[in-house]
Amino acid sequence: MTNAAAGTGRPLATGRRGAGGYGPMLGVLVLLAGWELAGQLLTEAFVLAAPSEVALYLVRDWQLMSRALGVTLGNAAAGFVIGNVAAVALAGVALLWPRSERVITGLALLVFCLPLVATGPILRVFFGPGPGPQIALAALAVYYTTLIPLLVGLRAAPDSWFDLVRSYGRGPMSALVHVRAMAALPYLFTGLQIAAPAAFLGAMVGEFTGAERGMGVLTVRAIRALDVEMTWGLATVATAVAILAYVGIGALARRVLLEAPPVILAAPAVATGRRLGGWIDTGLVILLALGGWAGAIWAFGLNPFFAKGPGDVLDALVFAPDAAATRATIGAALAESAVYLIPGYIAGLLAGAALAILLILVPAVASTAMPLAIALRSVPIVTTAPLIVLLLGRGAVGTIFLVAVMVFFPSFVACLQGLRQAPGQVMAVFDSYAAGPLARLVRVRIPAMLPAFFAAARMAVPASVLALTVAEWLATGSGIGSLMALSASLSDYDMLWSSVVLVSALSALGYVLVGAVERRVLAIYAPEQLA
């Protein structure tokens, strides 16, 4: 992270590391000073503890905190491994059997879109007491953000390399091992970096379903008790874990990825009968999702009081006497949420890309920006929401900001990696012309970033929905997130499942729309992605 050029792997790049030696320390110091000042100024408001107070708290209660950290970290790590192994396995299947890719990603998307508010209690009934729901929610929080970059990476190789594999008479398996897997590694590491804080947050939110111990439990307790030191102590530890995981995975990536990214020359995709295939795949996804849903309820014998099947939802939304009222309630809540969702999504996405570009142009910013960016993502919404509300008010701005924060981080990480995928040979050409950083950015780096940017834009659709529903549920008390929480507490499971179906379907639709834009852009800049 300290050196933006390190990704290109050129020896020249390492020379600049020494110059920035004090940079990281300085940036962190500036951050700490600003935080301390804000904490001292806001003492009366009970929203923020200064780092000095947090440090005192952590020294005093380190035993409690380390026990809680052990529990949550263990669950997050288990979920991280399970989720990422699942993502790699799914990507492997999609690659070896290309016909299945759209169905796999479609189903994976639908599962990723399921709101925590709804899945949490059902996972608890399913797993019983213990860490089951925590691990499951951590795994669910990561598998998708690994799968999507991985699928991009598996294709990010020049045609000529595949020609080489074929000229040796080898098949797709060899191409996978020798070419695709290698090409996918940078993308995989990016996925893992995005996954690390997500797994930790997933495990914490999983504890809301009735865990006895862990950092999520302590967070709920601290917020209710107005214990600002404990609240921010927890947030600090969560952030530190996320930063360590991010840096650790990044360091591993730099040890493994020694080659400069290749020039990817690929023939433009020829328009084929994809359109029809797309409709068939979509239909298949819907059929499999409905079948899996009904099948799971039947296979696990889930009680019909809270486990509603496709027929129940259809009935509640279309045929029941109060169907019109149900539709109106959900529609109003969705409209309320959309007002926040769309600006938050766009703002987060653009902010992520903008910061990534800034880091490439001015690498010295990294030491300040990186910890802040990771902190924003890994501090639980419940902790930051009161502070954001205090600073930005209870109106639209605060909520939009919360959504933007959740979208921002995956977008930023993916774009940064994309910008570093600028091909080494092309950069060498620019070197020989003594081209400035701006010219490199516009002509090489940004085009190289586009596949990663669009992958991030697609991932961000369900991520932003998730962020908004959680913010509405825990902080603002409005919109579809609040409606789902209310429905669960009033046992109105018809309303809850209907909301879940509509939210998932709309998320999927948003994803498809972004995908349509992506195809048009990538057809020009990265045709290998469309093959």
């Binding site: 408001a45 862990g214 439990v217 601290a222 107005l226 929401a385 209870r394 109105d492």
Partner: protein, 331 residues
């Protein structure tokens, strides 16, 4: 002659004794204990300390029950585990139970831990809410989901809800202290306690004192359990009654036990003591003094039915089933 006490023989007899001890310990309960779960409605705290006393003093294991107390949480509704049989009994409230029954859940209320509903309007002394009429012109911080509760209070007391500015907030006293709102809709036993622990004096207006009659912290079970698992229900509730009677004797000890049993819950002893003490007037009354813990009468049920109607819920007295409690109290 004194037996030759060598290190080896000492170890040997020690191990044998230990072995016998463990065998004896495991053999006795395993033959008779029935495993049942009680689903709590929130995270572990002195809110449920009566149950902890029953568990700690072995009153359930004496009766052949191996009771698990399942923690609740912000995303842990009580009804699904009780419906699915994962928990024999759940801690709910009359309004939530009524809603679940309307959706087809076969629940009955077996006992009422909180005779008075714990909802209060909390305010600061400089700008107090002492009675419902004081709410006019105030900004109230609450979850929008609780609007029917406020509406019911207003209807009961002839206050126009449109004169009150509802501000949706997270469940915390922070918006009140930051002057974002003038008062909060919360529980007597949580946010006001948090403020007191931060050295902030607050006023609470108990909604139950102004006609809001909704039984809270109620014990619910399914009709199926009532028909087929009566002995376990009686044993479970019997332990609860003994536990809560002991709780009332010494709430400080109950708070200390809570911390001892759940050291990882992040609890503070002083907070738990205060919470345990403030809960007593809600749980015990002349009614329970005369009839025992958890009791209710036709009159209190009638008052509940009226308030629930204001909340938009139509229920009959069939929702309550006192047979288990009558067996426990030997009535």
């Amino acid at each position: 002659m004194r037996p030759n006490l060598t290190r080896r023989t000492l170890l040997g007899t020690g191990a044998a004794a230990l072995g016998a001890g463990t065998l004896g310990l495991t053999a006795r309960p395993a033959s008779a204990q029935t495993a049942v779960s009680l689903q709590l409605s929130w995270l572990h705290s002195s809110q449920f300390a009566g149950s902890y006393i029953a568990l700690d003093r072995g009153w359930w294991s004496e009766a052949g029950l191996d009771v698990s107390l399942l923690s609740g949480g912000p995303n842990a509704p009580v009804e699904p585990p009780v419906v699915s049989g994962a928990a024999l009994v759940g801690i709910s409230a009359a309004d939530y139970t009524a809603a679940a029954v309307e959706q087809g859940a076969p629940f009955k209320i077996l006992a009422v831990a909180m005779q008075k509903n714990p909802f209060v309007i909390a305010s600061l002394p400089a700008n107090p809410v002492n009675e419902p009429a004081d709410l006019v012109g105030k900004r109230i911080g609450m979850a929008l989901a609780n609007t029917p509760v406020l509406q019911a209070l207003c209807t009961l007391n002839g206050v126009d809800i449109n004169e009150i500015e509802i501000i949706p907030t997270q469940y915390s006293a922070q918006p009140l202290l930051a002057d974002e709102v003038d008062c909060l809709l919360c529980w007597e036993t949580d946010l006001p306690v948090a403020m007191a622990m931060q050295g902030v004096e607050s006023l609470t207006m108990l909604m139950a004192d102004h006609g809001y009659a909704v039984h809270s912290q109620t014990y619910i079970a399914t009709e199926d359990s009532l028909a087929n698992r009566r002995a376990e229900l009686v044993a479970l509730m019997s332990g609860e009654v003994r536990g809560w009677d002991a709780y009332r004797e010494d709430t400080d000890a109950a708070a200390a036990l809570t911390l001892e049993m759940y050291p990882d819950a992040g609890l503070d002893l002083e907070t738990q003591r205060l919470q345990a003490a403030r809960q007593v007037p809600l749980m015990f009354s002349d009614l329970t003094d005369a009839n025992g813990f958890g009791w209710w009468t036709d009159e209190t049920v009638a008052a509940n039915i009226e308030t629930l109607a204001l909340l938009g819920q139509t229920v009959t007295s069939d929702l309550w089933d006192r047979s288990i409690l009558e067996e426990v109290h030997g009535a």
